[in-house]
Structures are given as structure tokens and as C-alpha cells.
Amino acid sequence: MRGSTRRGAVVAAAVGLTLVLAACGGDDDGGDDSGSGGDGGSSEGPTGSVSINSTQPENPLIPTTTNEVGGGNIVDAMWTGLVSYDSATGEPGLAVAESIEPNEDFTQFTITIKDGWTFHDGSPVTAQSFVDAWNFGAYGPNAQLNQYFFGPDGANIAGYDAVAGQTDDTGAFVEGSATAETMSGLEVVDESTFTVTLGSPNSLFETIIGYSAFYPMPESFFTDQAAFIEHPVGNGPFEFVEEVPNTSINLTAFADYAGDPKPQVENIEYRVYADLDAAYADVVANQLDILDKIPPVGLAGDVWKTDLEGRSASEPLTTRFTSMTFPLTNTEAWADPNLRKAISLAIDREAVIAAAYGPGNYVPANSWVPPGNDGYVEGTCGEWCEFDATKAQELYAQTAGVQGTLLISSNSDGGHREWVEAACTSIRETLGIDCQGDYDPDFGSFRARVNANEITNPFRTGWVADYPSIQNFLAPLYTSNGSANDGGYSNPQFDELIRQAAGLEGQEALDLYNQAESLLSEDMAIIPLWYDNGQRGWSTNVNEPQFTWKGYVDPLSISVQN
């Protein structure tokens, strides 16, 4: 008897579980119908819900410390700055600012902001909102990731040094060295006006302050940061609803948004994907509405064109640039410009792209600034970026050559091993020297070695522009003390031209930037490889969305199909 009652219990439990399962299966027949119209009754105003692929934000949603894509896209949807960039051209235009008046040498700017802007919590956007946010971002002890945007590498606001504090010889922050909490260059004139004094002339100031580090912050942020991190408050077209950690971040259209155009979609779900392949499968099955990047699984054999027929697009991105950099400070091996030129000549960029990414998915570069940016000149790299086996061999013969095996360092993930292998093949066949990849398993380990200046052979360098300007492709990367000058390239003439250009405007400035760029082709310390193309797809639930100059979806352009 004992046996049978136990068996009964087991069977009952199994049946129970099955019933639970069946019940759960039943109530969700439609699956996730993201983006299916929504119920916004009125004909005006935002309607519907859409989902967009995202990654888990790596930092709290505070503009001054968000510097990666996952958080950056959400911050950009939740905030509007003084200036915003036109989504198609990247051209800066006034947003919250009514006017930005420079003095004649671009060292002082008077900024007036428009009336009627409020934060999502109802508090007004004032001059103080900007000044406080910028001081917070620059203050050393706050350790904000975007701190340098307020310093010499960005806007260079007067008094930055005192606020940022100092670092010692090893680069460690000196405790207590930040002597002020506010930058002397920022002055609030009245409720809606403030002046900014810069440490050096900068005609690009208006462009730079469109970057997310310069967004305003509501008063509540400064009184209770913890509460703010739980529920961030911006002044942009979409307001924060909730975060389901590691699953999604949900925004809804802000009814009192003062900017233009207004949001067309009511709810946006930024859905977190650990693996882009899963997002791709979802968008193919119409269970995700917008995918801003097609993973290799879709690019291989161009299957994305058939999988997403009529709902996908590809266009060149104006913001990304991949190059190979020679280290110049920790070794003498690459001091000869002819050697660097010979290696550049020996790389058949077209063939490498075809082998590593599929033909046409990237564009061979022959300049240090991608097309589409103001001041782009085709072919500044000239003959040195064109594959020419004979010339490469001739030039190589004049140099001391490469000692031993030529190594190219990169991280092996993210599709980089593929191009390094292909480039090595091209160099090996052209110059007849040994060439090998030198890989780190991930981007972190690779960057750690680059930052420590440990790599003594050419290595991969990539760049994603912070703001749409030719200056951002040159100054941080190639000036002697640029924050992203990984190879230690230093050319006083280049530095001088960049410095002068910062004090000029329009064509005059562009001319100087172009002159500086042409110096790069004489030295070839950084050899251009290619510009990116952006491929994206969307579901049948939405109309074709627009993508920003950065290559991410513009939330204001999203609308659901009726």
C-alpha cells in the first residue's frame, strides 16, 4: 500500500506540472506582439510600441558617465542638449539653445536657452541646469567617464584644471588635488543665460556641446543621486518608465516635449540582447522591430538581403574609421617612413575586405576622415593607400626591412582576426616576408596593452567619432598629447595647424585641417584601412526608420504601420 500512495503522489505531481505548463502555454498564444499598432485612440500624438535591440547599459544612465552604445542610445532618446545634430547630415543645429554667440576669437560664448523646456519631472530647464551638470562632469572626485570633454581634449572650459585635479607621474589621481568644485569659465547671467569662457579658442564649441556629456541635469539629480539612478530624468522626447534589469529598458513619449519634431511612437522598448545573433533571428521573425546592426551570421553570403527583403538597408557610416598604427615611442623598428609606406602599399584593401567581411560590406579608405564629414577630401592618403605590389617591393628594398616576423596586434573577437589574417596574406605575398597576427582574446585585454604602450609592432586602431567634425577625426588621435594617440605619433607642424584651426571658422578652418591631414600622408605613421558601412533591418510592424549620423536609430523617426 505504501508504494502505491507514493506512486500516486508522483503521478499527481507530474500531472499538476503538466497542467501548469499547458495553462501557461495557452494564455500566450500570440507571442510577443511588439509593435502591433497599440491602442492610442486619437489620430494625433504618438501611437504604438516598438522594440529596438540594445545592450545592457554598462554605467548608470547619467550623461556625463555614459560612453558606450547601449546606454548612449537611451541617454540620447531621453535628453536634448543645447545643440542637436541633424539625423541625416550630422549638421549641428540649435535645440534647447535660443542662441549661441561667440566673441571674435572664439574664446567666450554667450548662450541663451529657450523658454518652455522642462524636465520629465516638471522642473524647468534653466541655465543653472547646464552649468551644474557640466561642473559635476568635470569634477575630478566624481570620476565621470566623459570628464575629458570639458578639458583640453574637448571644449576646454577655463578653470577645468582646478576642478579636474591632477594626476601624478604614474597617472594616478592625486587625492585632494581638485581645488575647486566649479569651473571659473562658467557663469550664470540669469535664469536663461550663461557664458562660457574657454581656455583656448575653439570654433567647434557649438558642435562639441551637442555631445551627450553636455546635457542638462535636473535639480533632483544633485540632491538624491541614488534615486536618480533608479529613475533617471531627462528633458528629451522620451521619458524613463522602467528598467527590467538585463531584459529591457522602457521609455514612453514625453507629453510636454518642447522640441521639434515630436515623437511619433508612444512606447519604445530597448530590448537587451546578450548575443546579436538572437536579435537577428527575432527581427527576421518580426518579433523585434528594429535592428541597427546585422551580425556576421546575416552578412555571410548576404543572406540578410533575402531574410529581410524590403525591410533592410545599407549605407556608409560617416563616423567610423579603422586604421593600423605603428608604435613610435617604445621601439625604433618603425622609425623609417618608407617602411611604413611599403607596408601600406602591400595591403590590398579591397581583397582583404572581400575575404574578411564579404565584398562591399566595408569601403577601402584613402583618407583619414570618412566621406560625409565636412572637410572630407578624397584621396588625402594618395598613392600610399593604393595597393601596388611593384612599388611596395621597390620601397621595401630601400629600407632596413622588418626584423623577423611582422606581427599585427588586435583582439581576435569581433571579426578582427579575419581581416588581420587577410592583411597578413596580402603583405606576405607582396613583400615576401613573414606576417602573423598577434591576438588578445578580447577588446579589454587588447586595449590594456595598447594603453600601457606595450605593443612594439603595428596594431589595429578603430575610431568612432564623438561629434560630427573633421576635428574629431584628427585632434584626439594624432596630436602629440591627444587622448587617443595610441602610437605616440608626434609632429609639431601638425599640432600647430590643429591649434590654429581651432581658432578659425568655416572654410578657413577646414583648409588648415586638410593641410594637417596631408602631413599624415607624408609620415604614414597611421595607415588608413577602411570606413564602415552600416546594415540594418526592421520588422513589418514599423515604417522605415531613419538612422542618425552615428549609425543608430533616430527615435524621433520611428513610426508604426497602420
Binding site: 570620476a143 589621481f173 527576421v284 579589454g444
Partner: protein, 306 residues
């Protein structure tokens, strides 16, 4: 029985300490600066790196840093991820999902596995037997990630029977659970079949048949019950394997479970996250195995825990 349980619980302490130390040491020993990748193609501001280094005690020697970590852990403070989120909250949110997935997988593996094993065992050499043998062979020889992608494309994208990725509903976990459980299902089926075939030849079965008991009762009660002991052992041990296998399946189906968390933690060098997730994993695993051992006594009264 009570004493046995206490004894077993006591044994867990050194195991937990040992595993957490190993995991903690290994994750922080991963090559590369955990903060180097956090600022794209330029170095992070030094004060940011300093603050993070201090926050995770990375300047201290490993044993000290570990002790500091464990000290916090004992007071229930699991620490924070690099993005400042509470790890404890994340665990609380993710564990139920992974447990649901794992339990579903076990359900699939036990229900289908035992049924297939019994059907194959009672008619040895028959059509069903061969069918089970061949189909389990196929399942065993395909790696989980291939099976997962195949199932996702076939049943999710093409046929549309299941959601392609997890949408939070239990239903969306069914397909991943079948994939996850399929390998063990094959083992269970073969295990049940082999045991059943063997037990059907034993004396007590012959006695039962001679006594005139109906066939269902002979197989269903006398034979199957004895054949299930190895299966229970297997399923208990497999529980840990399934939790581990969830890393792959959760990635394919974008399920926000612990596997995903561990994977992301390892990639980001977040020692605190990985250690916390794995510690709980170890605890769950040990408790399940304790339950399994107790279950033996239920299945076979001759086994007594004193």
C-alpha cells in the same frame, strides 16, 4: 535521518569556501585590465580606474581581497556590478528564470526519457526499441548549440510555433528546455531501457509473474521502481550540468537567466558578479544532490540514512 542531513549540510561549508575562492581567483586572474575596454579606443580617466580599483579591492593581495569579499558576502552584501547595479537584486531576478528553464528541461528529460526507455525496454529488439536507439544516438551526437540554433530557426523563425527568443513567458522557455534537456533525455532513455531489460530477468519479477500479477503492475511497480534508482542519481548529478548548459541555451534564446549573467560577467571581468552567481549555483547544486540522496530511501527502503 536528521543527523545525516546536518552532517551533509556541514560538509557544504568547505566546499562553498573552496569553490568561491577558486572562482574569485580565476576571474580576477583573467588576462587584461578589466577597466581597459570601458572607454572605447582611448584610455579611461585615471581617477575612474582608481575608484573602481579601490571599490573592488584590486590593489590588495588576492587572499586579502578575497577575505574582504567573503566578509561582505557573509553579511548578505553581494556587491555591485561595474555599472553600479546590485548583484543580489540581479541574482534574485535571474535565478527563478534559470530554475524554471532547468526544471522544465528535467521534466522533459524525465517524462519523455522514462517513457521512451520503458517502451523500448519491454519489447527489446522491436521497432520502438530500434527507433529509440537511433534517435537518441542522433541527439547525443549533435552539440547543444547546433541543436539550439536549428530548433530556433525551424520552430521559431520558419514555422512560428514558438517565440524566437524569450519574451518572459513560461511558454517561450519550452523550446529552450527541450533543447537543453535533449541530451540528458537520450541518456535517461538508454539508462531506463538497460535497467528495465536487466530487471525483467530477475527472480522477483519471475515470481511476480508466476503469482499471476498483471503485466502492467509487474513492469510499472516492481521493475520500473528498481530501475529508476540509477536514473534519479543521474538526474541529480545532471542538474548541475543543465545549469551549466544553460549558458549556451540562454545565449541562443536570449533568456535573461544566470547563464547569461555568468557569460557577461566573465567577458567583462566582473569577478564579483561571476563569483556570486557561481556560489549560488554551487549551493543549489549541493542541495539538489542532498535531496536526491534522501530520495533513494524513498525509492528503495533498504537504503536508510541514519
Amino acid at each position: 535521518m536528521g543527523r545525516y542531513v546536518v552532517q551533509r549540510l556541514g560538509q557544504m561549508v568547505p566546499v562553498v569556501i573552496g569553490t568561491t575562492f577558486l572562482i574569485y581567483a580565476l576571474v580576477w586572474a583573467l588576462p587584461g585590465d578589466p577597466f581597459a575596454a570601458r572607454c572605447g579606443d582611448r584610455p579611461c580617466p585615471q581617477n575612474y580606474v582608481d575608484r573602481m580599483t579601490a571599490e573592488y579591492n584590486l590593489d590588495d593581495p588576492l587572499p586579502i581581497a578575497y577575505l574582504q569579499y567573503m566578509g561582505k558576502l557573509l553579511t548578505g552584501d553581494f556587491g555591485q556590478t561595474f555599472s553600479g547595479a546590485s548583484i543580489a537584486a540581479e541574482l534574485a531576478q535571474r535565478y527563478p528564470i534559470t530554475l524554471q528553464l532547468t526544471l522544465l528541461a528535467i521534466l522533459v528529460e524525465v517524462v519523455i526519457g522514462v517513457a521512451a526507455g520503458v517502451l523500448a525496454g519491454i519489447r527489446r529488439g522491436g521497432f520502438v526499441d530500434n527507433l529509440v536507439l537511433v534517435s537518441t544516438l542522433v541527439v547525443v551526437s549533435i552539440p547543444v548549440f547546433v541543436l539550439g540554433l536549428l530548433a530556433q530557426v525551424t520552430f521559431g523563425v520558419r514555422l512560428g510555433w514558438f517565440p524566437v527568443t524569450s519574451d518572459g513567458s513560461l511558454y517561450s522557455l519550452v523550446l529552450p528546455a527541450v533543447v537543453l534537456g535533449s541530451l540528458s533525455l537520450a541518456f535517461v532513455a538508454r539508462l531506463v531501457r538497460a535497467n528495465l531489460v536487466e530487471n525483467l530477468r530477475t527472480d522477483y519479477v519471475r515470481t511476480a509473474i508466476a503469482k499471476g500479477l498483471p503485466r502492467q503492475r509487474v513492469i510499472g511497480v516492481h521493475t520500473l521502481r528498481n530501475s529508476l534508482i540509477p536514473v534519479v542519481t543521474f538526474v541529480g548529478a545532471d542538474f548541475g550540468g543543465l545549469l551549466g548548459g544553460a549558458v549556451v541555451v540562454e545565449g541562443i534564446f536570449n533568456i535573461p537567466g544566470v547563464g547569461n549573467m555568468i557569460f557577461r560577467g566573465i567577458n567583462a571581468h566582473e569577478g564579483a558578479t561571476v563569483t556570486a552567481a557561481v556560489t549560488v549555483l554551487v549551493l543549489v547544486f549541493m542541495i539538489v544532490n542532498l535531496l536526491v540522496d534522501l530520495l533513494y530511501a524513498v525509492l528503495d527502503p533498504r537504503i536508510r540514512h541514519v
